[in-house]
Symmetry: C2
Subunit: 308 residues, 2 copies
């Protein structure tokens, strides 16, 4: 079955434009360090435009990656794991923009955003996305600003979106073997389907609005913290929290696993991994490390960051 | 169905004795730093004796862990993923000894060993195991010594073991998304079943022989390298190779995934992760970094390390 090409190009072009504008904004924060760009092609169909920034003033390592991949996949991958018929292969089309930024300063949070568009050969088409914040040190005021910004975008489209997608993020960005959330969450959604042009436009506008909000949201958060002094103790804590980020991404993150299993470009997918991470056996902050203890106490689901 | 307890106790006691003797030998190499011991219980049945050594002279971080776990598991886990009937639960019993040591000196290789015994309520019982070496810098002479030692142990039991289990290790300790092996391999085997007391004894003796060989094999390897001087460049390379170790363990290692999914103790399972790891985008050694380039050229399957 040949997949319809309707809408694909418009999504691809918009995602690439968003990549350009986000990279420009992030370069302003890292002046004079620029993103390095690598174009790559996927043997089985498609390719991408990987942009990585390392050793910037603000960002120690991060990526703003665009990809467009298509071809045939086992049903288990093509349909998002909802099909047990692993034998047959299905045509699929997927395009997305993925961002992870690991800052130098432990007081500046790690941020992640992904927006994606998917088509399967059964005729299903959908958008997905997510944006979440992983502070090494939780600051409830920052968390409120972040969640309030996301809620405002969601409410322009559907009043059910923020509560539903906030809960989804709590459940998704969760590390079961640690019984802790990755950070303070945000929003996450998948399989946002549409049945006509109007619904497509609304879903697409929502996803683009999220993309456009990324740079101002992160710039605002960064500006509050980037000049704070930090010491070796803060730096060790940052590396330990980055270790948890690695655990989440390699063990649970569906985008990472989909990418690696579908023959994606490893260096592009694994831009989400930090420049340096540490593991210390059974690490527990000292009783006097109040900021670290405070942070751990907030790594749980169901916190209402806006009204608290 | 109540599982037979025949043989279990004898395996458990032997694995704990091996843990004791291996820890004693490793402490000699790290004098005066000792292992820290934590006893833990698993809510659904069983527990373990975790022993971790950090910041030793030789070992920067490593564990020698014993565990005995039993109870009910989804069929997919209890039967090693060979059953598609995920709905039903099955009784199982598993006990094992797992070792991973990350040395301080980049010229000393990372080593891993695991021996395990498993019973399912279908009446199946088997041993499994593996030992493999991950040098940050490959030394073919060291590789020959290592593989020759393993071959000698294997040949005491069955002349088919070494070729079969060496190939199995090449296939198992492989990182598909990097298209490279984790290191120089070793041996790996699973579901070594037995049908009578004599076969049990032979399989058990083989596994114990492997366990007993661990300390002398690693002590010999270490003694050749532990006093070599290293610099910052060697240390960065070590952290990058440790990053690959993290990728293998969290994405592919069945023991790690089984442990995390079956509600094992995360800090015990994740002792395999290094104290510090790094990721640098698309890192490639400079043309003058001959030792690093040499190492990369040997990270592939099918190398005959003994006759080369």
């Amino acid at each position: 079955m040949i997949l319809s090409e309707m809408n694909r190009d418009v999504v691809v072009v918009k995602f690439m434009e968003l990549q350009d504008s986000i990279c420009a904004a992030m370069e302003l924060l890292n002046d004079p360090v620029k993103f390095r760009e690598d174009l790559w092609t996927r043997e089985a169909g498609g390719g991408g435009r990987t942009r990585i920034l390392e050793n910037g003033n603000l960002i120690e390592r991060g990526g703003v990656n665009f990809a467009k991949v298509f071809g045939k996949l086992p049903a288990s991958l093509a349909l998002g794991g909802n099909d047990t018929d692993n034998e047959s292969e299905h045509d699929f089309f997927a395009t997305g923009l993925s961002i992870v930024l690991h800052p130098v300063n432990p007081f500046v949070p790690i941020i992640h955003m992904n927006i994606r568009y998917f088509e399967s050969d059964s005729g299903r088409k959908w958008f997905g996305g997510g944006i979440d914040l992983t502070p090494h040190y939780i600051d409830t005021e920052e968390a409120t600003i972040f969640h309030q910004s996301l809620k405002e975008i969601c409410h322009k489209y559907n009043s059910s979106y923020y509560p539903k997608f906030k809960k989804w993020a709590d459940d998704y960005f969760f590390i079961p073997h640690r019984n802790e959330t990755r950070g303070i969450g945000g929003i996450f959604f998948d399989q946002l389907e549409f049945n006509n042009d109007q619904e497509f436009q609304s879903a697409f506008d929502f996803v683009c609005d999220l993309g456009k909000s990324f740079a101002p949201i992160y710039t605002r958060i960064v500006s509050r913290k980037k000049d704070l002094k930090f010491n070796e103790k803060n730096r060790l804590w940052q590396k330990l929290r980055r270790g948890r980020y690695v655990e989440f991404n390699l063990v649970y993150d569906r985008g990472t696993r989909f990418g690696l299993e579908s023959g994606g470009r490893a260096e592009s997918i694994l831009m989400s991994l930090p420049p340096e991470a540490s593991w210390v056996y059974n690490y527990s902050p000292e009783p006097t490390s109040v900021d670290e203890i405070f942070t751990l106490s907030f790594l749980r689901k169901g916190i209402d960051w806006i009204n608290n």
